[in-house]
């Protein structure tokens, strides 16, 4: 085998300079340039000069802070907060359950696990993946507004609005979880003559169930936040109350609802962290146990 022929050596011309430039400008450098450029562009494009703060902006900030320091803890407000929190939970749970009904079949199709025929599988995967990405492209509040415009103020506007993008997200993640399982158990099942549906139930699901469950719970937490903002289009819940109180410049009341929302989310997040620790990592990592 001859080595590189002398005539193929790069001549110090234009091509050589370009090649060496490209060698020096690897992906990381290009990335840094793009990111720094994007940041500079966004900072320079925004209008920072013409009265960024309102005339009474600083006074309003003071009122906000003092309002938040002393939330309205009267029985009436707390009762309304409890009711609003419950409605927020109802929307989140109902929306998520509709999302699950939509997501599971799409995820099965998108994972391509049930079909053995090659071309049919490719078609199923690409069509369902496209449907899933279309479902999750539009924000839930945009859906909510469209539904309210179409069918009026109904809890189902909130539920469907929540269900559509969440089905898109859940379906995609579920499909990924079902694909990313260890191969060995699946092969063992197939060698034993199992069909693809048996492989799914006894091979893939047991490997993926912890991830599936903990991700679903995480999505419930997001669903609570999404349900809370449905108030913006007139549907009841915590966001509705926050907006009403802010419109009345009643910061103390707004603070109460905000803190209830915070408490609700923090509670669910704490629960979901514990659940994930238990499920995905098998045991506690030692953090938090030794305190």
């Amino acid at each position: 085998m001859a080595g590189p022929a002398p005539w193929s050596l790069p001549t110090p011309g234009k091509g050589g300079a370009l090649a060496s430039l490209r060698r020096r400008l690897n992906g990381r450098h290009a990335l840094s340039v793009i990111l720094i450029g994007a940041v500079l562009w966004s900072v320079l494009s925004a209008d920072w000069t013409s009265g960024l703060i309102h005339g009474g902006g600083w006074a309003a900030l003071g009122d906000l802070v003092s309002g938040f320091a002393q939330p309205d803890l009267s029985g009436e407000t707390l009762g309304q907060a409890a009711k609003a929190a419950w409605i927020t939970v109802v929307y989140a749970v109902a929306g998520l359950s509709v999302a699950l009904i939509m997501a599971v079949p799409l995820a099965l199709l998108a994972s391509g696990t049930l079909v053995r025929h090659r071309r049919a599988r490719l078609w199923g995967v690409s069509v369902s993946r496209t449907v899933l990405s279309l479902l999750r492209a539009v924000h839930e509040l945009v859906w909510a507004w469209l539904f309210v415009a179409a069918i009026g103020l109904s809890p189902f506007a909130a539920i469907f609005a929540l269900a559509i993008p969440y089905a898109g997200i859940l379906g995609r993640i579920y499909a990924d979880f079902l694909v990313d399982v260890p191969e060995a158990p699946l092969r063992a099942l197939r060698t034993g003559g199992a069909g693809e549906s048996v492989v799914l139930v006894y091979g893939r699901l047991p490997s993926a169930v912890a991830d599936l469950a903990s991700y679903t719970f995480y999505r419930f937490e997001c669903g609570l936040r999404s349900a809370a903002i449905m108030g913006f289009v007139g549907l009841s819940g915590l966001g509705f109350q926050i907006q009403l109180s802010l419109n009345d410049l009643n910061y103390e009341r707004a603070a109460t609802f905000l803190f209830v929302l915070f408490g609700l989310i923090a509670l669910v997040e704490l629960w979901s962290t514990q659940l994930r620790r238990r499920l995905v990592l098998g045991v506690h990592r030692g953090q938090g146990v030794t305190s």
């Binding site: 290009a30 945009v142 659940l275």
Partner: protein, 289 residues
Amino acid sequence: MKALRPVGIVGGTLVLAAGLFVASWGYILIDEWQAVSDLFRVGTVGDGWRFVLELAGLRDGPATPAFLEAGRWGDALALAYDTLVMSVLAITIATVGMALTAPLAVRPRGAVRPSGAGNTWRAAAAPALRWASYLVIRTIYVFARAVPELVWALIIIFVVQPGIVAGAIALAIHNFGIVGKLSAEVVEDLDPAPMRALASSGAGTRQRLLYGVLPQAAPKMLTYVLYRWEVIMRTTIVVGFVAASGLGREFRLSMSFFQFTDVALILLVYFLLVGAGDMASAGLRRLAR
């Protein structure tokens, strides 16, 4: 004495999920029965269909639908540009905030001993300080991300003029809570060996951070930041409802004036923007590898 074993968290979650499911749908079926029966009226289907026709511009008679006029596309693309600026500004602010706070939000580890610089009160107070900063910043993170972007926007516009910057700040606060938490966890899960090696060869805190933590953590943090940027792109339209900027403002106005073909145009541009953003983010992540 294990007779009264408490239900584990997995069992508890299952019970909770089933209970919430039954209670929520029960509440809807009983308290909102009117809405349930309305849903299955023929009129509701007709209303929905009429709305779709209005979006498609098939009910307005002679007027040209907005999405068939080149000039309107130009307007909408200019608004998309504003929206894009808002999203990049938002993730920039959130990332800067994260970079300033995440090093202080890492759970203190027993393994790293304070350097044996004598038993001064400062050495004694250091662990307490580290715990205090960890707890305070983590609580701030939880609060920042518990409040949705839209609610932050509702509050922000009392202080900041509605516009791109107000929207970006609202988006940034919420995402600061998310990116901060994720980054702190990345640092917590790092391999401690390089830091220990640096420390044993006499590196100070700043050097350990720069040469031990950052090279290991940066790729993962960047991935998180880019993922959040994709989410922010989707959310800018919603924040624009309140912050009166970009596509969101126009969407709100067109909905209020029942100009549904304009709504359809904005949705189309929004679709394109989100798709382009996802592709750009995927490309950048590939560059990082």
